[in-house]
Structures are given as C-alpha cells and as structure tokens.
Amino acid sequence: MWQLAWIPFLEPMHFMQGLWYLLAIPLLVGIAMVHKGLRLPERGLWLRGVGIMTLQSLLGLVGLAVGLYLLVLVIVPQL
C-alpha cells in the first residue's frame, strides 16, 4: 500500500527496485534523441534515427551482458 503514498519527483520509484534493468530503455531513448538531434539535418528522419539507435544500443547492451555471462560463468570455470 505504500506505493499509493509515492510523491513523484520527490520520492524515488521504490517499486521499480526489482525491475531496474528496464530503466535502461528510456535512458537510451534520451541519449539517442540528443545525439540524433545534433547529427541529423533539421529535416532529417529524426524519429526513425532515434528508434534505430535505441535498438542498436539496446542490442549492444544485451550482447555485452550475454558475452560477460558466458565468459564469467561458462568459459572461465573451464580453464
């Protein structure tokens, strides 16, 4: 019930503590918005560029996570 007393912008989103990894997605969107806003011409396909860069970054993060998982928990123990 304590979530009902959550005051946005004053208190942290404690209910997201267990789902913290999902918060990487809006972060990547924000970074892509600024990056593509600066790089693309003013009449460029900004939203398309933001979407593609977000997906690329997300896939990169997932790939890194899988690679590190395999390295630490599968490859290194076999050495």
Partner: protein
C-alpha cells in the same frame, strides 16, 4: 537553377556563439534556437530536459546531491540551472523533513544510481550540444551532416 541544399543549416544573423553557449547552458537547446536552428534546438531540449525529468522521477530529488555525490554533481551541472534547483530542493526541503518522511525521499540501491546516471548523462550530452554550437560556423559541418543524411539518417 540550382536547387537549395535541403541539408544546409539555416543561419541566423546572430553571430555570437559565446552568448549562444551561455544561453544553451541556461536552457538546453536555446543556444541552437538563437542561432536559427529551431528544430535542432527543440530536439536537444526535449532530450536533455527529458533525461533530467525522468532521472528525478526515478531517483527523486536525492538523485542530485552536491554534498554526498560531488563528482556526479559536477557532471550533472552541465544540464544547467535546473540541476541546481533540484539540488536546492534536496538540501533545503527533502533534508529538512521529519525523519519518517525524510526516509522516503532517500534514494537507495539501483534507483539512486540510475537516477543519478540519467542526470549526469543529460549534463554531459548538453556539454556536447554546447560544443556543437561552437562548431556551427565551421564550413564542413553541413557537409558532414549531409553525409549522415545520405546514409539514411542512421549514422552514429
């Protein structure tokens, strides 16, 4: 008749990049607007202010802390006075609440780290935007952006 370059940056008569940089720090994206790049300024503003707002939403006002997270605060300062305002709210309002209420405003674990990271990245991205303002008058900048557009607008 030569068609106009649709990728050329519209240049305003205003030619004081230093003032544009100061304005861009005070309000992210406003520097680009001052130089006549209204759309680019709005996009930068949406990105930077969006990151700051979501960061504060996730981590609360404790995501900006000039006392306990000094190094992070230095990076966050790049996003402008809005960060100072959040820090003042944190130090002057949240820290002066009665103890049970004060506990609820404290960011713990991942949420504090992620909220802090959001705003620090907003600050660093705004510094990149400010550097872009200084580069605006260089002649090769529009050509490079045209190359990006030729690549389908997906160049990183």
């Amino acid at each position: 008749m030569t068609p106009p370059d649709r990728h050329a940056k519209p240049q305003s008569q205003f030619q004081h990049p230093a003032l544009a940089v100061i304005l861009g720090w005070l309000l992210p994206g406003a520097g680009h607007m001052l130089l006549g790049q209204r759309t680019r300024g709005l996009r930068v503003m949406a990105g930077i202010l969006g990151l700051v707002c979501v960061g504060v939403l996730i981590g609360g006002v404790d995501a900006v802390d000039s006392v306990r997270d000094k190094l992070w605060y230095m990076a966050q300062l790049g996003a402008g006075p809005i960060v100072v305002l959040v820090d003042v709210l944190n130090q002057q309002v949240a820290r002066t609440l009665p103890q049970p209420a004060q506990f609820h405003t404290m960011g713990l674990g991942h949420l504090n780290a992620i909220g802090t990271l959001y705003i620090a990245l907003a600050g660093l991205m705004n510094i990149v935007a400010l550097l872009d303002l200084l580069r605006t008058r260089e002649p090769e900048a529009p050509a490079r952006r045209s190359q990006d557009a030729a690549l389908g607008g997906t160049a990183n």
